[in-house]
């Protein structure tokens, strides 16, 4: 029975429970709704919740736990002799899983019977051939140990599936009976249902905490794993980034310094574009522009923030890059080798950040009390003098906060640098040279690779950890500054 059916069945039991609970409660007072403690629908909901929630909870836990337990048991049963030289238990285990999947596929394709798949032991070649006939991936040399383990794996998965179905359905039915027994006039159904609802609400809100914990744990565990293979000092202070791909041999140099430098340099260029334009836009929009201009210009600028970053990435790669090359390249100043460079990524990222800086600064400038401006005008200052000498100093902490938030955005931005900044990790001052960033390297180290055992892949988690810590620090610092400033006028 597939998962969707099981889910549907549990929900159906809950729905039937709802209807039964309702009628049972009503009939307990001979249809007189006034004698019930709660509205009839609450009795129904009580039954439905009691049957669905425990069943679904067990289902989710089972789904997560079963693969872990089954692989654990099967892999510990593989004799050490079955693990070839230079291989590991994990590799053999993935072979076992492939065999199990191959047997499944072969049974589904009809090239072997279910009993043959479960018990065949004699002829490895025949088993392999039958699996190949069903167009399944097979190991090059099937050994009896691996086949036994694969069959064991299949059997356990199948048993687990049956057990899960039985347990979940039993729980749903039992819950429904429990709820139905309670459905009589005196039972405080509404209070119960509301208590459960509240717990569900709290659980939903706690997901935010869970997500953060998930992020931190996934980063910490894999980073720790990485540091057991690669010395942390060399990672943090190494000035060369030259990963070798596992299998080709040779040792990798994984120094984060060139990546941090690239990230920092591109962010600076981006901020140099975004901050003046964004800030002046905000000043003009909040102090000079009439309501009509504001109503048109502000949303139009904010469109820039709504455009997906892949669009900016392509814009950098195919429009801005070639344009810059035609000016600064061989035919122009001769500073630029190719379209992907710090400048390309920086300028485009700056465009993306304009609305970010302008909206935040706009809010902050608007929050400066009018009385401060009026006082300045009263003393004979012009509008620009008021802005420069009164409004901006008053808004400064908030604006700094906004710029810091923009900086954290720039550091965490991925697609623009992946497409626009190049792939070479370099320590150079020339902004027309290709450099790379932390985020771009996370993408290139992790894309399409799920071998969680090589330092070349695990380094991405250490990079992610660095990125997370840096952006988190910037965000907290920025929010702290903005909050502190707000308290002055509220």
């Amino acid at each position: 029975m597939s998962l969707i059916w099981l889910l549907g069945l549990v929900l159906a039991i809950a729905a039937v429970g709802y209807a039964l609970g309702r009628t049972r409660a009503l009939s307990s007072t001979n249809g007189d709704i006034r004698k019930l403690h709660s509205l009839p629908s609450y009795y129904g909901a009580n039954v439905a919740l009691k049957s669905a929630i425990p069943a679904l909870l067990v289902l989710v836990v089972w789904l997560v736990a079963q693969p872990l337990i089954v692989s654990g048991v099967v892999s510990s049963d593989i004799p050490d002799s079955a693990i070839p030289e230079g291989s590991s238990r994990g590799l053999v285990m993935s072979e076992v899983k492939r065999v199990a999947a191959g047997l499944d596929g072969a049974v589904a394709a009809g090239t072997m019977s279910a009993s043959y798949a479960a018990s065949a032991q004699a002829d490895m070649d025949d088993v392999t051939k039958r699996m190949r006939d069903a167009q399944q991936i097979t190991p090059e040399a099937l050994t009896p140990e691996i086949l036994t383990a694969g069959q064991r794996f299949r059997a356990m998965v199948a048993q687990g599936k049956w057990a899960m179905t039985a347990v979940v359905l039993a729980l749903a039915v039992a819950g429904a009976f429990w709820g139905l027994r309670e459905s009589h006039a005196e039972f405080r159904a509404r209070n119960t249902v509301e208590r459960v609802t509240k717990v569900l609400l709290i659980a939903a809100a706690s997901l935010a905490i869970l997500t953060t914990v998930g992020i931190v744990l996934s980063l910490v565990f894999n980073t720790y794993e990485f540091f057991t293979m690669y010395p942390p000092l060399e990672f943090f202070f190494g000035t060369t980034w030259a990963p070798s791909f596992s299998g080709r041999g040779g040792s990798s140099e994984l120094g984060i310094v060139p990546l941090l430098w690239g990230t920092f340099y591109i962010s600076i260029v981006a901020l140099a574009v975004a901050v003046p334009i964004g800030l002046f836009s905000a000043i003009y929009l909040s102090e000079y522009a009439g309501p009509k201009v504001r109503a048109i210009a502000k949303p139009l600028l904010e469109v820039l923030a709504g455009i997906p970053t892949i669009v900016y990435g392509l814009f950098a790669l195919l429009t801005v890059g070639p344009l810059l090359v035609s000016i600064f390249g061989k035919d122009g100043f001769g500073w630029m080798q190719s379209g992907t460079a710090v400048m390309t990524a920086g300028i485009v990222m700056g465009i993306m950040l304009i609305p970010f800086v302008s909206s935040l600064s706009d809010d902050i400038i608007n929050a400066v009390p009018q009385s401060l401006r009026d006082g300045s005008y009263g003393l004979g200052a012009t509008k620009s003098e008021t802005i420069k000498q009164v409004v901006l100093p008053a808004a400064l902490p908030g604006i700094v906060g906004a710029i810091l938030l923009a900086a954290s955005r720039a550091i965490g931005e991925t697609m623009i640098v992946v497409l626009g900044a190049g792939a070479a990790a370099r320590l150079s001052l020339n902004p027309f040279e290709a450099m790379t960033t932390v985020t771009a390297k996370i993408v290139s180290q992790l894309t399409g690779d799920t071998d969680f055992s090589s330092p070349e892949m695990l380094v991405a988690f250490a990079l992610g950890m660095t990125l997370f810590v840096v952006t988190l620090g910037l965000n907290i610092f920025a929010l702290y500054i903005v909050r502190k400033y707000r308290e002055q006028y509220e």
Partner: protein, 440 residues
């Protein structure tokens, strides 16, 4: 300003004549205003440039050059072709032979050979083979085919490839362009709307003409179903708790701080989370829209929670008081009265959150939803969620990262499609807000 009192000996001043200092101050005022206007204009100019370059570079993806030809394949030719090792090549050869015959018959005044025609053709052998395998009855009868030309011929019609810029290669030679012109005049090739781009899946690296965004649109669609189905209920539940029920205590503060920080965590970190938790730990399938949807759900939840809380806050307390006053429980007041009134605002926020998720690329790359896995449409609902697929932005990235510049057109075209989706979603959000927004 204070200078006036410090410097008593002043020349006669008048309010009617503007003195040098005032002039300077006024000039600086005008200058400052100019800076502001320039900044806005630069910002808007960037927007305009972006829009123009997307439309200009993206429209070629929607047209393609096609051969319109009647072809007759005999049973014997079919069987011969099926026996060959490279079957699609054999079909292509049949097509070239018949086209050559037709050209000779029509007395086209241009030098050509089979190789030249081969260079002009897209990957048509597969199309032909598929047609005859599906319709064996058509064998021996003349059938009208519309088949794609190579992407370089597309480039010639778009103005990307010209006689001056073209360098002879195994893909196209300058002399071939004469043949293209002749074929165009004879009405054999012409431009047509490129339905393949809308409906097809990603193609192999050497076949830009056959690449389409259809499969990845389906991938995005299944992801959005997951995001909508999870983030709307969870986001609303979390917001209701925080806005209506949460006591002021440490735990609530912790949740609030977490939501604020998650909203600012770089999207790629969510990709790492997805890779480690859903794929490394839970062993969910690689590249599945289900996993992509889960990752994007976690990413959009803060956005949805923030906008939902604003919508709940906008419902005046008198509504709650009235409900409580006639005997509703707190839960009833919220679910029966506050929530329906806040619904338009919640939906608006949700649509904007979904639009944000739809355009997100980086986390999808980490969980393996890169473009080239989008090779076919899923067969059913469960496959739609679990089979490897890509999503629109990831597909665009894959095309942009390929070496063949013919794929760049596809990438720009893909962006137009993506932006059409985003625009539609945002317009719906704006209309919802206009239609249902209530000021209290």
């Amino acid at each position: 300003m204070t200078d006036a009192t410090n410097n008593p000996p002043r020349h006669k001043t008048s309010l009617h004549t503007v003195d040098a200092r005032t002039k300077r101050r006024n000039a600086s005022e005008a200058r400052f205003k100019m800076y502001g206007m320039t900044a806005i204009l630069i910002g808007l100019a960037f927007l305009a440039i972006l829009a123009v370059s997307i439309i200009r570079a993206g429209t070629p993806a929607f047209t393609r050059t096609v051969f319109d030809m009647e072809l007759t394949l005999t049973q014997a030719e079919f069987e011969a072709a099926e026996k060959q090792l490279m079957k699609t090549k054999a079909y292509q050869a049949v097509f070239i032979d018949q086209l050559s015959a037709k050209l000779t018959e029509q007395n086209v005044q241009v030098a050509f050979d089979g190789k030249a025609i081969d260079r002009l053709l897209g990957k048509i052998g597969g199309d032909l083979r598929a047609h005859y395998r599906a319709n064996p009855g058509d064998l021996g009868k003349p059938v009208q085919f519309t088949l794609p030309a190579s992407s370089r011929v597309d480039g010639y019609f778009n103005g990307k490839v010209t006689r001056d810029t073209l360098v002879d290669s195994r893909f196209l030679e300058v002399s071939d362009l004469d043949l293209v012109d002749a074929l165009h005049e004879a009405g054999i090739i012409h431009s047509a709307f490129n339905w393949t781009f809308i409906t097809a899946a990603d193609s192999s690296v050497d076949n830009p003409g056959g690449a389409g965004i259809g499969a990845s649109v389906v991938g995005s669609f299944f992801m959005m179903i997951v995001v909508l189905g999870l983030s709307l209920p969870i986001g609303v539940a979390a917001s209701i708790y925080l806005e209506e029920f949460a006591p002021k205590n440490r735990f609530t503060d912790l949740i609030e701080v977490n939501i604020a920080n998650l909203a600012a965590v770089p999207s790629i970190v969510f990709g790492i989370l997805g890779l480690a938790v859903f794929i490394q730990f839970m062993h969910l399938p690689n590249s599945a829209p289900l996993v992509g949807g889960l990752v994007l759900t976690l990413m959009t939840l803060p956005t949805i929670i923030i906008s939902t809380r604003a919508a709940l806050k906008a419902v005046p307390p008198s509504i709650r008081d009235a409900a409580l006053g006639v005997g509703a429980s707190k839960m009833q007041a919220v679910f029966h009265h506050v929530l329906p009134l806040a619904m338009p605002g919640i939906l608006t926020g949700t649509i904007i959150g979904l639009a944000q998720a739809l355009g997100e690329t980086a986390p999808l790359l980490l969980i393996g939803m890169v473009g080239f896995v989008a090779r076919e449409y899923p067969d059913g609902l469960a496959e739609g969620f679990l089979n490897a697929n890509s999503a629109m932005p990831a597909q665009i990235y894959t095309w942009a990262a390929r070496a063949d510049s013919a794929f760049y057109d596809k990438a720009w075209g893909g962006i137009i499609i993506l932006l059409i989706f985003l625009l539609t979603m945002n317009i719906i959000a704006i209309l919802l807000r206009r239609r249902f927004e209530r000021r209290w």
